[in-house]
Amino acid sequence: MSTEDEQAKAVSEDEISEIPETGSPEIGENEQDGSGAMIILFFILGFVASLIVGWIIFPKLLYSQKQQPVAFNHAMHNELVDEGCESCHFFREDGSYSGVPKLAQCIDCHEEVQGESEAEEYFVTEYVQKEREVPWLIYAKQPPCVFFSHVAHVKKGDMDCVTCHGNIGESESLRVYEENRISGYSRDIWGSNIGGFKKNSWDRMKMDDCAECHRKENVNQGSVQTEKGACFVCHR
């Protein structure tokens, strides 16, 4: 057995050692030039393709596009109310924030169909009359591992809604809601730029964006409730 193995090994070594002997050195150099270009070309191909995948195709695959259940015109409503955003997105007596309005608030004005818009009619017949809550998709919804108090930021910190939410109050229609297929959260949290770059303070709502402002404004470095610092300022 052992002798046969050794023989086979010897044969293959012979074959390998034969290759340089039979080949002509000139042809070898030409081929090397060509293959060098090829290597660079393929490197660039791979590089560009993956950049295209990463920057363009990946975000398209990552997010699903969802329409809001009812078309809504913020700008128009804003003109009709007295207290700006807080007319509908109000603070309750205990200081908690009401978030997206419930049907109960809409009903004050929309018990009957107003005007002639189709969306209005759809809203009244499908939701108001059937007493169903509208399943609004919330662009700024954060994961439940974070305590976020609106009242602390808006009332005590004197911040504008725009600082985090942008100019949604002036929009005439609701944007398409893009849902992350993995985490289930809105694209607004990471920001519309897949690279995570932002121009405005409201372009992203990740932890770093909170931290940036907290550092800049030198706000409490510990949780008011638990008096713990670092992560526990916001995290449960």
Binding site: S35, F43, A49, W55, S96, C145
Partner: protein
């Protein structure tokens, strides 16, 4: 151009470099992190408006006030109601898990009718129509007395409505499920001449002699008792626990006195003997406010000296003398009885024996003593106008034999019902049975006999909100709203010494197609017409309740409870309504009852050398409510391991049979057999086997169903000679290798 291996490698490296410079890996990592931190299937309470609703817990007779935290329309937490006289902000494990009974899987979602052994949904109209036709039919045949109702309470508007309905229909068969309330009521009635509930001023007691009462295992009003126990700890109060097993209560007592099971009454009389001999009693009370003491004294002196009592009870004579001395010398001593959670009425004479200890130290109606709490008086309905059928019907004997010549003292005898019904195979004693807020098929001893009796009843109607064992045996289920969806007055907290009324109210809208039992009764009355409709004239249950509450309604709605803060026990000169106007140690009625003797366990000693006793804990509920999911999860694996129940056996006893710790064994009693696991426990007296109550459900979801053994399948009722109430505290048993 030739694409070779190197080109391919180069492409890959280029791709890797490009990927690293694209957001893909970083974004994916971030998303994965978010996903793994917030599993989408982990329930997270919705955000919304937080509100609190004051209401009442009805899951046990404890009478706690609750504050229910809601986020929008969803109940997220139940807390104790701060300032409530019974539980002041605290709550027990069952009350905390109450929301699971609302949202959990065991609900009956619509009226159901059993057709060929299977439940089918029917409309309320159809269900009510069917019942009213059957009821009308029975009346026309002159058999209204064959209608009966089992309920968990006889106080409050719903039980009173049921009772009133039955009466005016022509039946006396309203039956309350048994508990120590039966024995305490009779004790107060016979010795003090009052119709009242026993209340215990535990907060102010400083020496509590507990004859097996599970002070920390769910006796009385559980949360109130827990709080009282904490007060004793704080103020130096003492708890002496007398029972054969080291229960949680015994473990947290100041002194645990193991006693031969069933002989607690003998020990009480032994203590009385020492108190008499050493003149350790309240002379003022005995001389001026009691009668029959000297006659009673002779009987105690003759029969209960510490040596004799020591032999019977297994408690050393010196201990008996010590107990008598420290009990009588305490500033505010209190003696209580009723084993475990107090679900078995027990021997009346045993209760009377313990009550005489209270009388001898003169703590009746005193601070830290035992009080007679009058029955709630707010339900005042006009005298019933009975038609002829009803008059004849209500002259018939009760189906359970309560109040008969054999058992004249008893008001309700549910435990006697199966035996009476099963004795005859043809005569229809009960033709229609309503069951409200009770699960007798599970909770009554002698499960097999109960089932047999239920099968004989042509129409069983269950009002249960849950698919429990009794509902499963019913022909019709008319599901009530759960306690978080309905109005109901809850008068009196078990063992609390002042009158209190709680108001349960709809914290959320009913989730399913259920109906308030009060409304069902009013609608049935309306359908039957005549005097019956006249007797229950209300538009709805809510209207009836509001009318009954009168001036109290506003307080109830605002506070969640009503209490009479001015209530004080009457002076001794006015407290007793007996013939003599005094506390009676002996009277004609008491003398006519069978004498006290320890209740013997059923079974032959040779065939069944051991004795099986049950035990109760806060983690296992065995009345109408079975453990919700959170509560059953809290049961330790020394009690329940997967689906096997562990029986507690003293290692000495187990070794003598050749059983190892953790081994399977067959537990058999004259009533049945079960496969169990053995758990070595030094805290149970040799010769005993202890089995927890509250397991072995055949109904409910699989968190509870099929886990362990139902104690009631292994034991039968044992009629107390004096009253007919169930006085069984255990049964003879045998444990053998499996």
């Amino acid at each position: 151009m030739k694409i070779d291996r190197r080109s391919f490698l180069s492409f890959t490296i280029g791709g890797a470099a490009g990927t690293a410079l694209s957001p893909l890996p970083w974004k994916l990592t971030d998303d994965m992190a978010i996903w793994t931190q917030m599993w989408p299937w982990t329930p997270v309470p919705e955000k919304g408006e937080v509100t609190y609703v004051k209401s009442a817990c009805t899951l046990c007779p404890g009478g706690c006030g609750i504050s229910v935290r809601k986020v929008d329309d969803r109940i997220v937490k139940i807390e104790g109601l701060k300032g409530h006289p019974v539980n002041d902000g605290s709550l027990c494990i069952l009350g905390l898990a109450g929301a699971q009974l609302l949202y959990g899987p065991r609900r009956v979602k619509a009226p159901m009718k059993k057709i060929n052994g299977k439940f089918r949904e029917v409309s309320w109209e159809q269900a009510l129509d069917e019942i009213s036709k059957t009821l009308a039919d029975l009346r026309s045949k002159g058999e209204p007395h064959t209608v009966a109702c089992i309920a968990d309470s006889d106080r409050g508007t719903v039980p009173e409505l049921l009772n009133r309905f039955l009466r005016v229909y022509g039946s006396r068969n309203f039956i309350r499920t048994p508990s120590i309330q039966d024995s305490y009521e009779l004790t107060l009635n016979l010795m003090q001449g009052v119709r009242a509930m026993a209340g215990f001023d535990v907060n102010n007691a400083d020496y509590v002699l507990s004859f097996g009462s599970g002070i920390l295992d769910g006796w009385g009003s559980p949360v109130h008792m827990f709080k009282a126990h904490s007060l004793w700890r704080e103020h130096g109060g003492k708890l002496i626990q007398i029972e054969p097993r080291l229960s949680s209560t015994a473990a947290k007592s100041d002194s645990w006195i193991p006693i031969n099971p069933g002989t607690e009454g003998t020990l009480a009389l032994g203590i009385a003997h020492v108190m008499i001999k050493e003149s350790l009693y309240d002379n003022d009370f005995i001389d001026n406010y009691s009668t029959g003491f000297h006659e009673w004294k002779r009987h105690i002196i003759d029969g209960y000296n510490p040596e004799i009592v020591g032999k019977v009870t297994g408690v050393a004579p010196s201990t008996i003398v010590g107990l008598a001395s420290s009990f009588a010398r305490a500033r505010k001593p209190l003696a209580v009885c009723g084993r475990g959670k107090g679900l078995t009425p027990g021997s009346l004479k045993e209760f009377m024996a313990v009550h005489t200890l209270n009388a001898m130290v003169g703590n009746i109606g005193k601070e830290g003593g035992i009080w007679a709490v009058p029955e709630p008086e707010y339900i005042e309905w006009p005298e019933l106008e009975m038609d002829q059928t009803a008059s004849i019907g209500t002259q018939q004997h009760r189906a359970d034999g309560a109040g008969s010549s054999l058992y004249p003292q008893a008001r309700y005898l549910l435990n006697r019902l199966p035996e009476t019904m099963n004795a005859s195979s043809t005569y229809k004693l009960i033709q229609v049975l309503f069951v409200a807020g009770a699960n007798p098929v599970y909770s009554m001893p002698g499960s097999a006999d109960i089932k047999e009796a239920f099968e004989k009843i042509p129409l069983v109607v269950s009002f249960s909100s849950y698919m429990d064992e009794t509902a499963q045996m019913a022909d019709l289920i008319l599901p009530n709203h759960t306690f978080l969806e309905r109005y109901e007055d809850v008068p009196a907290a078990a063992g609390y010494n002042r009158p209190v009324i709680n108001l349960a109210r709809p914290v959320v809208e009913p989730r399913f197609n259920t109906m308030h039992t009060g409304d069902v009764i009013i609608r049935l009355a309306r359908a039957l017409g005549g005097t019956i409709a006249k007797a229950l004239p209300w538009e709805s249950y809510e209207a009836c309740l509001e009318e009954m509450m009168g001036d109290r309604w506003d307080t109830l709605v605002e506070e969640g409870y009503w209490t009479n803060t001015d209530f004080a026990a009457p002076q001794w000169s006015e407290a007793f309504e007996t013939a003599s106007g005094k506390f009676e140690f002996v009277n004609k009625e008491i003398s006519s009852l069978a004498r006290y003797s320890p209740v013997k366990p059923e079974g032959d000693e040779a065939a069944y050398p051991l004795i099986l006793i049950p035990f109760d804990t806060m983690r296992l509920w065995n009345g109408y409510i079975g453990d919700p999911q959170f509560v059953i999860k809290s049961v330790p694996d020394t009690v329940l391991k997967k689906n096997d129940v562990l029986v507690e056996v003293n290692p000495a006893t187990a070794k003598s049979i050749g059983l190892r710790d953790g081994a399977y064994a067959v537990l058999s009693t004259p009533k049945g057999k079960a496969r169990v696991k053995v758990h070595f426990y030094e805290g149970v007296m040799p010769g005993l086997v202890a089995l927890p109550r509250g397991l072995g459900h055949s109904a409910y979801e699989n968190n509870l169903a099929g886990k362990g053994i139902n104690f009631n399948e292994l034991v039968g009722p044992f009629d107390d000679a004096a009253t007919g109430h169930d006085a069984a505290w255990g049964i003879r048993a045998k444990l053998a290798k499996a």
